[in-house]
C-alpha cells in the first residue's frame, strides 16, 4: 500500500497518526499472512493420534526424523514428490531395516538404495521405527519369534521356501543378482537374521512384500535358518570362486588351467 507523500505537513499530529498507521498496517499485514499460512499449511501435529501422545521412544525418533529425514519424506512423513515416498503405514520393521543397513538416509537419488555404513545407531533406528509406527502403523517384527537362536528351525523347509520365493532374485548362493535398468537384489551375506526378517516383512524398494500372513513367522524363521546355514557352511570341495557358478568356472579353466599348461608346453618344447 503506497502512501502518497503529503505535499505540506498540515499538522504534526496527522503525520504521527500516519506513522502509527503504517506500523498498524504492517502488523495487520503480518497477521494476515501468518493466519493464511496457518490455515493452509499442514499442521505439524496434524496426524498425531488424538487419543495417545507420542511415547518417549517415538518422541526421540521424531527429533531425529525432523533433522535427518524431513527433506525427502516431508514433515509428517507424508512424502515429497520426486524425492521420497510417504512413510505412513510402512511400519517399524521397514524403518529399522532401511536405517540399520545404512540405506537410509540415501546419499542421492538413484535406481537403488544400496547398503552402506549406517548413520544411526541401532538404538536410534529403533526410535525412528517407533515414531513411524506410532504415526502411521504398519508391520513390525513380532516379539514371539526367536531370531537370535535358530535351534529347531526346519532348514530343509527353509530351503524349499527359499528356492520358490527368493532365489530368482537373490541367487541360489544368496549372493544377489541384477534387476532391470540398474537395480539389483543385494547380496544377503551382510544381513543379520533380524534384517532379513524385516526385509521380507516390509518389501524394501522393488522387493515384493511377504507379510506374516503370507509367510508365517515360523516359515520366515525356517528361511533365515536355511540362509544362515548355507552361508556359514564351508564351501565343500575347495574355494567356491565367489559362488557365481559356471561363469567363474569357465574363467578359472582358462586363467588357471590353460595358462598353467601353456607355460608347461613352453617348458617342454619351447620354440624352435
Amino acid at each position: 500500500m503506497t502512501v502518497a507523500a503529503e505535499s505540506r505537513p498540515r499538522s504534526r499530529q496527522r503525520g504521527r497518526f500516519r506513522r502509527l498507521g503504517k506500523v498498524a498496517r504492517f502488523i495487520a499485514a503480518l497477521a494476515f499472512v501468518g493466519a493464511t499460512y496457518t490455515a493452509f499449511s499442514p499442521g505439524i501435529y496434524a496426524d498425531e493420534p488424538t487419543d495417545a501422545p507420542l511415547s518417549i521412544e517415538a518422541q526421540k525418533g521424531k527429533e531425529i526424523f525432523d533433522q535427518s529425514c524431513i527433506t525427502c519424506h516431508g514433515p509428517n512423513a507424508q512424502g515429497v514428490e520426486d524425492r521420497g515416498p510417504s512413510l505412513i503405514g510402512v511400519g517399524s520393521a521397514a524403518v529399522e531395516f532401511q536405517v540399520n543397513t545404512g540405506r537410509m538416509p540415501m546419499a542421492r537419488q538413484e535406481a537403488q538404495a544400496l547398503r552402506k555404513p549406517a548413520m544411526f545407531t541401532p538404538e536410534e533406528a529403533a526410535f525412528l521405527g517407533a515414531y513411524i509406527q506410532s504415526i502411521g502403523g504398519g508391520p513390525e517384527v513380532p516379539d514371539t519369534v526367536d531370531l537370535d537362536n535358530l535351534e529347531g528351525a526346519d532348514v530343509a523347509n527353509g530351503g524349499t521356501l527359499f528356492r520358490v520365493n527368493c532365489s530368482s532374485c537373490h541367487a541360489f548362493s544368496t549372493g544377489g543378482g541384477a534387476l532391470s535398468s540398474g537395480k539389483s537384489a543385494p547380496d544377503i551375506h551382510p544381513a543379520s537374521s533380524v534384517e532379513i526378517y524385516q526385509a521380507m516383512l516390509s518389501g524394501p524398494q522393488n522387493m515384493p512384500v511377504f507379510a506374516d500372513n503370507q509367510l508365517t513367522p515360523d516359515q520366515k524363521r525356517d528361511l533365515i535358518a536355511y540362509i544362515k546355514y548355507i552361508q556359514d557352511d564351508q564351501a565343500q570341495g575347495g574355494w567356491d570362486l565367489g559362488a557365481f557358478g559356471p561363469s567363474t568356472e569357465g574363467l578359472a579353466i582358462f586363467l588357471v588351467g590353460i595358462v598353467a599348461l601353456a607355460i608347461a608346453t613352453l617348458w617342454i618344447a619351447g620354440k624352435s
Binding site: T160, S168, N206, Q214, Q234
Partner: protein, 367 residues
C-alpha cells in the same frame, strides 16, 4: 660290443656300399643308423648330454629327477593315507572341521604325486636324453603313378566283375531293395515319436484334471490360497490343486499370483486385452510363470516398477499391461489365468489359460 656313440655332426652318405646288417662286427650304433636310414631318417645332430659319465652336473640332474619321483611317491602315499584315514563324512562346516579339507587334501596330494612324476619324466627327457635333431623324408603326396594305375585297374575290373554297370535292371533292383532297407534300419527311432496333440494347449488348470470342475490354486505345500493371504505388493507361486499339481507332472502350470496396489490394479483392469477382461479378482492378478521366450520361470517381480524380469535371458514383462514384453527377447505376453473366489473363500481358476503357455511353436495359434 662297443657302444660307439659319436658326438657332433654326422657326415651324410658315409658309406658307399650298403651295410651288411648281419655282420657281427658292426657296432650297435651303426645298426641304429642303418635302421634310421631305411626309414628315411637322417641324423643331423646327435650327442649324448653327458659324454663323460659321472660329472657333478650329471649327478645333479639325476638327483633332481630322483627328488621329483620320490616326492611323487611320498605324495601318493599321503593320498592313500588321507583317502583312508582323513575324516571325510559331511558335517556342517561352519565350525572348524577336518572333513571340509578332505577334498582339498586329496586334490593337492594327488596333484603333487602326478605332477612329480610328470616333472621327473620331463626333466629326464630334457636333461638326460641325448640331444638329437633328425630329418625324415615325408614321402607324402600322391601315390606313385604306377601304383595308382595298378589300383585303378584293379578297382575298375572288380566293378566290371560284379556286372552291375552292365545290368541296369540289377542296378535298379538293388537300389530299390537297399534304400528302403536303410530307412527301415532307422525306424526304431520312431518309437520316440509322440503326437503332441493338444498337450501344449492344456495346463493343470484345465477342469478335465478335476472331474470337469474348476481347479483351485494351492501352494507348493498343498495349502489352498485365500486372496487376503497375499500381501499387497507381494507375490505367491501357485499350482493347480490336483494330485501332483505341484510336481513336474504339471511343469507347465506354475502361476504367479500378484496382489497389486489399488491404482496399479485399476490400470491393469483398464489395459486388459479382450480375452483378459474379467480375469483379475479384485486387485489380484495371475500370470503364467513360464516365460514365453524359452520356458524359464519368469519370477523376478519388481513391485514398484511392476516389471516381471526373467533371469535367463532378461525378458521384462509389464504386469499392469497384460504382462506384455517391454524388453528383451520375449515376443508374447505371459498368458493370464482367469481368477475367481469360491464360496469357501479360496482362489480358483475359472478356466484354463486362454492361450498356450510357455515358448512358442509352429502351430501355437491353433487352439
Amino acid at each position: 660290443m662297443s657302444t660307439d656313440v659319436p658326438s657332433g655332426e654326422e657326415k651324410k652318405d658315409e658309406q658307399a656300399e650298403p651295410l651288411d646288417v648281419l655282420d657281427s662286427g658292426v657296432t650297435r650304433f651303426e645298426l641304429v643308423k642303418e635302421a634310421l636310414r631305411r626309414d628315411g631318417v637322417e641324423i643331423l645332430h646327435y650327442e649324448p648330454r653327458f659324454p663323460i659319465p659321472g660329472t657333478k652336473e650329471e649327478k645333479r640332474v639325476v638327483r633332481t629327477i630322483s627328488f621329483f619321483f620320490v616326492l611323487a611317491g611320498l605324495a601318493a602315499f599321503g593320498f592313500i593315507a588321507a583317502y583312508i584315514w582323513w575324516p571325510w563324512e559331511y558335517e556342517f562346516g561352519g565350525a572348524d572341521t577336518w572333513s571340509k579339507w578332505y577334498t582339498p587334501v586329496l586334490g593337492a596330494l594327488l596333484g603333487i604325486a602326478l605332477g612329480g612324476v610328470g616333472i621327473g619324466i620331463l626333466t629326464w627327457s630334457k636333461k638326460l636324453l641325448p640331444v638329437e635333431e633328425l630329418m625324415q623324408e615325408r614321402h607324402d603326396g600322391a601315390s606313385d603313378p604306377v601304383e595308382r594305375r595298378l589300383t585303378g585297374a584293379t578297382l575298375a575290373h572288380i566293378g566290371d566283375e560284379t556286372g552291375v554297370a552292365r545290368r541296369p535292371m540289377l542296378k535298379r533292383a538293388l537300389l530299390f531293395g537297399a534304400a528302403p532297407l536303410g530307412l527301415a534300419a532307422l525306424m526304431p527311432i520312431g518309437g520316440l515319436i509322440k503326437d503332441p496333440g493338444d498337450a501344449l494347449f492344456t495346463t493343470g488348470f484345465n477342469p478335465k484334471f478335476n472331474g470337469g470342475n474348476p481347479v483351485r490354486l494351492m501352494r507348493e505345500d498343498g495349502t489352498l490360497i485365500r486372496p487376503e493371504e497375499i500381501s499387497v505388493g507381494g507375490q505367491i507361486t501357485a499350482f493347480p490343486a490336483i494330485p501332483g499339481g505341484a510336481t513336474l507332472e504339471h511343469a507347465d502350470s506354475p502361476t504367479l499370483l500378484i496382489h497389486l496396489r489399488e491404482p496399479d490394479a485399476a490400470e491393469a483392469r483398464a489395459n486388459a486385452y479382450e480375452m483378459n477382461q474379467g480375469s483379475q479378482w479384485e486387485n489380484i492378478i495371475a500370470y503364467s510363470k513360464i516365460c514365453t521366450h524359452v520356458g524359464c520361470p519368469a519370477s523376478l517381480y519388481e513391485q514398484q516398477t511392476n516389471r516381471l524380469l526373467c533371469p535367463c535371458h532378461q525378458s521384462q514383462f509389464h504386469i499392469t499391461n497384460n504382462a506384455t514384453p517391454i524388453f528383451g527377447p520375449a515376443t508374447r505376453a505371459l498368458p493370464q489365468l482367469p481368477l475367481g473366489v469360491d464360496e469357501e473363500g479360496y482362489l480358483y481358476a475359472t478356466s484354463d489359460y486362454k492361450v498356450a503357455i510357455g515358448p512358442a511353436f509352429w502351430e501355437r495359434e491353433k487352439k
